[in-house]
């Protein structure tokens, strides 16, 4: 017994470490998703447009961040790049969406769809198709703390802090200010808000701009930690739709919870080794390798990338309005 106890303690210690690190990684990824989905979900419920180009604004943020960092340094880029992306977003709303609005939602949808492709090609033309060398600023390039025996990079803590600050600020603006009141009203009753004398068009434009700027901000801070390249929008876009549908369209708290859930689920799925074989025991060996034995032995880690989409399907069947959504649309 004496000899067996020590390895078991060491093992449990390692599992605890895995759980803590996975929670940190999952929350971080979730907060990044929230920066993106918050804008997308508000735009959707307000204007009825699923903005396919939203992830493209995230990519633009990353590339602007990279370019401005080269010219004027990371910190000015950190402020300027989201503003630039926000300005582009406002221009898209003012001169693109507002004009197509009278032709209905399909035209608006197609506009954002085309825009996503156009942005990807333009980015590829300017910066090329291979990843650009967007590095973590030297000021934040050190391990923030060592938990158990794993270092946690300071830059990731910075990403987490920025996301939390934005979340709190967004919540305060929407819940505690007059502007937030109008935005919330416009979410559910845009016509009534218009009749009351508010300039709904301008509200739309500002919301679209702020949403794009938040996506841009996510790009600026995620660029150095992940990979900045011309297909990053296409890789992230589908997950965003999962988040906003899962959380409930138009619901900010819903988007927040869904972002965290998706972030944690994806991170923990990677950490788990279970497969059907480990739960129900191996198949009869005499059967030899077959399609069934392939499926039987697939681990959760291997299917991690499709788990969010499974969640999407399940939530649409069980609760079509999403976790915290209030209306079915």
């Amino acid at each position: 017994m004496e000899t067996g106890a020590l390895p078991r303690i060491v093992h449990e210690y390692a599992v605890l470490e895995l759980i803590v690190i996975s929670i940190l990684n999952g929350v971080l990824f979730g907060m990044l998703l929230f920066l993106l989905s918050s804008g997308l979900t508000v735009i959707f419920s307000m204007m009825g447009v699923l903005n396919f180009a939203h992830a493209s604004f995230y990519m633009l943020g990353a590339f602007f961040g990279f370019q401005l960092t080269k010219w004027i340094g990371f910190w000015p880029a950190f402020v300027l790049a989201p503003l630039l992306v926000g300005a582009i977003g406002m221009a898209v709303e003012r001169y693109g969406l507002r004009n197509t609005h009278k032709h209905g939602h399909v035209a608006e949808l197609l506009l954002t769809f085309g825009l996503a492709f156009a942005i990807e090609e333009i980015v590829a033309m300017i910066w090329g198709r291979s990843p650009v060398d967007y590095r973590v600023p030297a000021l934040l390039d050190f391990p923030a703390f060592t938990i158990f025996s794993t270092n946690y990079p300071a830059y990731k803590i910075f990403m987490l802090a920025v996301s939390v600050v934005i979340f709190v600020a967004l919540l305060l603006v929407l819940r505690r200010t007059r502007v937030g009141l109008i935005v919330q009203a416009a979410l559910t009753h845009p016509h009534m808000v218009g009749h009351l004398g508010h300039n709904v068009g301008r509200v739309f434009m500002v919301v679209f701009g702020v949403g794009s700027a938040l996506a841009g901000l996510a790009g600026v801070i995620a660029g150095p930690a992940l990979v900045t390249q011309s297909d990053m929008a296409a890789a992230l876009g589908p997950i965003l739709f999962v988040v906003i549908v899962f959380g409930g369209l138009g619901s900010l708290p819903g988007a927040f919870v869904a972002s965290l859930v998706i972030g944690l689920v994806q991170t923990f799925a990677v950490a788990l080794n279970g497969s059907l074989a480990s739960v129900f025991g191996p198949l009869d060996a005499a059967g030899g390798p077959s399609a069934l034995s392939d499926i039987w032995n697939v681990t959760i880690a291997q299917v991690a990338p499709i788990i969010p989409y499974l969640l999407l399907v399940i939530i649409l069947i069980v609760r079509p309005m999403g976790l915290m959504g209030t209306r079915e649309s």
């Binding site: 599992v15 991170t267 880690a301």
Partner: protein, 410 residues
């Protein structure tokens, strides 16, 4: 008369065009130039363009100019077939590809079918890096030639080395989830069990190919497993980002890799501070000590501004020239026949040969480690000040595997 002149005026340029097309040997380079594989794909393209320039400066192949025509396959098998057809339509009779065995298998099948249906217009597929053993075993083809050591050859060499390193006790396998990654994983399991039954395999991971942008969850898992060594066949951004995440988390293990030398890998290793703890398996490397290869490396770096990742590409192009000269023709059918059993002095020294049975090239294999440079090692990587250092050389006879290939010969 006027009609004759008119006809001549129309036909003459066509003839002229045909004559010019015959003067050049077009090689279709079908590899990723966008997406996750772009960094390695662009490196390969620059390498082949350098090699073509070099051949052309010395009179080309049988007096014909060599031209590399790039096609972007986005590391996607379907896209690669579309691009291969486009290449053939543009007059290409030789295609070369390396990144992704899934792509390689599709191209091999495509070329075989194409050649059966289009006798007299045969196309050869020169493979410089797709290393799934299936390509020279159950799926082998007469029209495919491979210059890189297949993954089972590399694993044979690696496990022969690991056999004598007693400190390796717990091994973690992490590979890309497609044909090549799966073959690395199964070969590693099989050979480790046979040669080092005491070694414990504490993890066996497959992750999506070129899609993961943050490996920290995987690194946390490796850490939790208590592994002392990791074996991985990852390439492109999958090895660079894996090592980067390991560096960020401060994971200290030995890394036995196929491709740590690719773009971004060396920078990440330097960041981890793992001095001579990351190993790679190659058919040659910058500090191999073989003088002609080191002179070549120097000239290559001066012109292309990157390290020579693919000494096998040098072997491929030089052997292509040798075979064409032996056959006194650039006709693919004759070149293919001349390549069979062709013996060749490889760039990094020693003799290799293209086995007739399966069209696999056998050559000496090096295990090298990355770290601080010794006095006689002039080359570092990615300006890190660190470079590759010889650990073990496996000569051609010890780097051979058997084949089950039964190819259909024309």
């Amino acid at each position: 008369m006027r009609r004759l002149i008119l006809a001549a005026a129309v036909i003459a340029p066509m003839l002229g065009h045909a004559a010019r097309a015959e003067d050049t040997v077009k090689i279709g380079y079908i590899d990723p130039l966008s997406g996750g594989g772009a960094s390695v794909g662009e490196g390969g393209l620059k390498t082949f363009q350098y090699l073509a320039d070099e051949l052309n400066a010395k009179g080309g192949i049988l007096g014909r100019k060599v031209e590399i025509v790039p096609f972007d396959n986005k590391t996607n098998p379907q896209e690669a077939l579309v691009q291969a057809q486009k290449a053939i339509d543009a007059g290409v009779r030789y295609i070369t590809q390396g990144n992704g065995s899934s792509v390689g298998l599709a191209l091999e099948d495509f070329v075989t079918k194409y050649n059966t249906r289009n006798p007299g217009k045969e196309v050869l597929y020169f493979n410089y890096a797709a290393v799934d053993p299936a390509m020279t075993n159950e799926k082998c083809s007469y029209w495919h030639f491979r210059w890189d050591a297949s993954s089972d050859i590399k694993m044979e060499a690696l496990t022969n080395y690991i056999k004598d390193v007693a400190s390796i006790k717990k091994v973690y396998l992490i590979n890309q989830d497609y044909s090549f990654g799966q073959s690395v994983r199964s070969d590693a399991r099989k050979m480790l069990t046979a040669k080092r039954p005491d070694v414990q395999i504490v993890g066996d991971e497959l992750h999506p190919l070129l899609k993961v942008t943050d490996f920290s969850p995987y690194i946390a898992k490796i850490k939790a497993s208590g592994a002392d060594s990791v074996i991985t066949g990852n390439w492109g951004q999958d090895i660079a980002l894996l090592l980067k995440a390991a560096a960020d988390a401060g994971l200290k293990v030995n890394w036995y890799t196929y491709y740590a030398g690719g773009a971004g890998g060396p920078t990440a290793i330097k960041q981890t501070g793992l001095d001579h703890q990351v190993f790679q398996l190659t058919e040659g490397f910058a500090n191999s000590g073989h003088q002609p290869a080191m002179d070549y490396e120097k000239a290559f770096r001066a012109k292309v501004n990157m390290s020579l990742w693919y000494p096998r590409a040098v072997n491929e192009m030089r052997m292509f020239k040798a075979a064409a000269e032996k056959a006194n023709s650039v006709e693919p059918v004759k070149v293919a026949a001349a390549l069979e059993d062709l013996k060749f002095e490889v760039l990094d020294g020693g003799t290799g040969f293209m086995r007739k049975d399966d069209h696999q090239f056998f050559q000496p294999i090096y295990i090298s480690s990355f770290g601080k440079l010794a006095a006689n090692e002039p080359f570092d990587e990615e300006n890190t000040g660190w470079g590759w250092h010889l650990v073990s050389k496996v000569d051609t006879p010890q780097a051979m595997v058997t084949t089950t290939c039964k190819m259909t010969r024309p």
